[in-house]
């Protein structure tokens, strides 16, 4: 990197961090390499697949497209910040119950997109779920069980009571 190092300060999963880093380094690499938060994944490096999705100041961003200088002072949430005190987040539990994760590589980004969706729209319609997750590619599931997971988390119901939730 040709740019001089500088100190960037932001909060990650509620914790204040200050790191010396090249300002144009991708937020994705800062999270994975400098902070060793490897839950956030790289799938394409061009903002198409959404595997690197994190929440920044209440917005969903592709961290592969964010130079870290843009994160100065930001509040960032990654998949590692979802579960608290060892308990799974309701979305994580729903993904586990409904089969929303298969190979798991898109899962952290998908969870962040779903968290973002439910934070602005706690009871989304199927069309809103489809739109909210359209920037996150999953090659394993065909998405149906991911939709089921989001609906289950939104309803906070029991696994046995939800089926055929895929109609749009």
């Amino acid at each position: 990197m040709s740019h001089r190092q500088g100190t960037i300060r932001f909060r990650v999963n509620g914790e204040s961090r200050a790191i010396d880093v090249a300002p144009m380094k991708r937020l994705l690499d800062v999270l994975r390499e400098d902070l060793r938060l490897t839950g956030t994944k790289e799938g394409c490096g061009e903002g198409e697949c959404g595997s690197c999705s994190v929440r920044m100041n209440g917005e969903l961003v592709n961290s592969c497209l964010v130079p870290v200088l843009q994160a100065e002072g930001a509040d960032i949430q990654t998949v590692e910040g979802l579960s608290t005190c060892g308990a799974l987040h309701p979305l994580q539990q729903a993904f586990l119950d409904c089969g929303g994760a298969q190979c798991g590589i898109c899962t952290p980004g998908m969870l962040m997109a779903a968290t973002q969706l439910l934070s602005i729209n706690p009871h989304p319609s199927m069309a809103e779920i489809r739109e909210g997750l359209a920037g996150n590619l999953c090659r394993c599931t065909g998405f149906k069980r991911i939709f089921d997971s989001v609906i289950a988390a939104a309803a906070n119901d029991q696994p046995s009571t939800r089926r055929t939730t895929h109609a749009r």
Binding site: G43, C49, I129, R139, C140, T141, F143, K144, H166
Partner: protein, 753 residues
Amino acid sequence: MSTSARTRIVGASVPRKEGVDKLVGRARYIDDMEREGMWAGVTVRSTIPRGFIRSIGFDKRIDWSEFAIVTAADIPGANCIKLIFEDQPCLADGIVNHCDEAIVLLAHPDKHKLRAAVAAVQIEYELLPAVFTIEESERQETIVWGADNLLKNFLLEKGDVESVWAHAAHIVEGEYRTGAQEHLYIENNGMIAEWSETDGIAVWGSLQCPYYVHKSLLSIFDLPEDKVRVIQTETGGAFGGKEDYPSTLAAHAALLAMKSGHAVKMVYDRMEDLAATTKRHPSRTRHRTALDQDGRLLAMDIELATDGGAYATLSSTVLSRATLHSPGPYVCPNVRVRSHAWATNTVPYGAFRGFGAPQAIFAVERHMDEIAAAIGIDPIELRRRNFLHDGDTTATEQMMRDPVILDQLLDRALTESDYHAKRKRFARENARSAVKRGMGIAAFYHGSGFTGSGERYLNSLAGIDVTPEGKVRVLVANTEFGQGTNTILSQICAEAIGIDYDDVIMAPADTNIVPNSGPTVASRTSMVVGRLIERAGHQLVAMLREHAGLGEDFKSDDFLAACERYRSVHGEVVSLCRYEAPPNVFWDDQKYRGEAYPAFAWSVQVAQVAVDTVTYSAEVEDFWAVQEVGRVLNPVLAGGQIEGGIAQGIGYALYEKVVLQNGHMANNQMTNYIMPTAEDVPPIHVFFEEIPFQHGAFGAKGIGELPHDGPAPAILNAIRDATGVSFNAIPLLPEDLFAQLATEPVVAEAAAL
């Protein structure tokens, strides 16, 4: 018989074994791993499709002393990726046969220095003529592989097709084509390798088949078996795409580790992964079919050709499965299949979910609708009249000894989809609308496990051990890459022993720890390897009853106490089982006849498609899949397999196009290689009929590949139903629809019959 016994854990949707790790971001994929003093490695690739390498130069503006540099000359053993044939070099030596072929490897402590270094390696070539299509290759004017460009051919013959043509009531011909398809696993290929004089090689990576990598490294490095160790890391999707390629990447990383004296990580970015690694074989299939006046099949003459790419890799076995699936699930007294895999100067095509079957089934199931139209019979009725039933024989003279319930699957698919009422309604509505809707079906089987004598040759070994810490471990080389291996095999283990699901863990997929239970391919893990685990569990319980006083009724604690009693006398607690072929399974490789597969999974799929005749887009609005896959071991995982396979099949039909220029993938980005998103995949309705297979684990047959076989023909049949126009090639993009619909006007009442 275990298949009819009541079960506690098998058949239940227990949570995915490694699910929590994946959900909290703790699962460790290859790019999440670091090793002490690790360097980064990169590949310098051919920019031409075929030619001699005249020189390799290194730009003096780079300080090459900082780099490890590897060429073919550094390979200690044989310069070939050992698989079926031995024609593919690990690194090109003197000649390249496709764009993106690896020639030079570089490693450096700072990964940011590698991009400039790759650009500073100057390779001079002398161009040779190249071929890029099946047609160019089969003309044999330019020979690019062996003596004749022919990677493999098969002849499958039953009866005598030539005796039929003269007296047949109908003869229908058709030609069908399928394109390449990229796996697009979201985790790219990656490996870390270490090398030492005393311990040899250790590689960690994203892969399906640890013992394939192991076998290949032994010969490339000329090392004994105990000096090569292969460990699978969490793998972010594979779909066949990490069956053979990891052997190449592991060798590259290990060569750099040896040369540099450091651990070396090689992780491809998306563009490199798309350009350099395998894809599904493109195909061309020609059908000539004779029928009697009632629409019963008299003869099927099939010519099937695949493009195998520059080296043989898995093309012979892909062609074999394509050949065996090409006549579809029908009875026909006279069948001839002539199949050929041709070499071209592109990246070798490889394994992809379905392994030749989706290509073959696209052709035959599209052709059935063309036959129906040509002879004036309903496509459903045509299929019904010709379905295989119990006691019938396939084209290889394999008798259907187990129940075949195609009629039942079809009835349920028609009912669930409301097929007949919808066709009537669409025929009425289409006349007044620019959006034309149609319904299409596909019926098919998928052979479970290796083809023919394959499972006998594999001779897999798998088992269970109990650690001194009281953990019951499943010992297999079969890998988890999303499909549920960990969960299913743990369920089978717990059920067979009679302990809890949570008592069971998976031993690491590490060739130093687990036996060779064969590759994780061919929809074989649940049925074949699961059966070994079921037997090993029963064997372990019997052993503990005989030697360690285990009682008839026991809880997990009693079982573990018995294990400790056994350990104190006999040492380790381990139970291994080797593959035993089901009786009556005999395959004649020479005559290409006999029991092609120990079991078949069956499916009928229905697609509802809307074609917009203004925008020329085709959208799958709804999808139904009814299948018989033996016993369903975990309904949530099984449903996930079917839905995921169908989504890939929809992509194969309507979205995913590999654009080649000089044999190089020109659209090697997710921006312009398009897969279905959350907004593109329709509702998918999945139904299982269960008939336990007595030789599979707790009645299981194969499931993983089956769902990918049907969507493409079902969708294109639905488009024909909607528009009255036949489309015989995939992918079918809007521009393809435009090209044909603009010249061939849509038949207003196509769907009316």
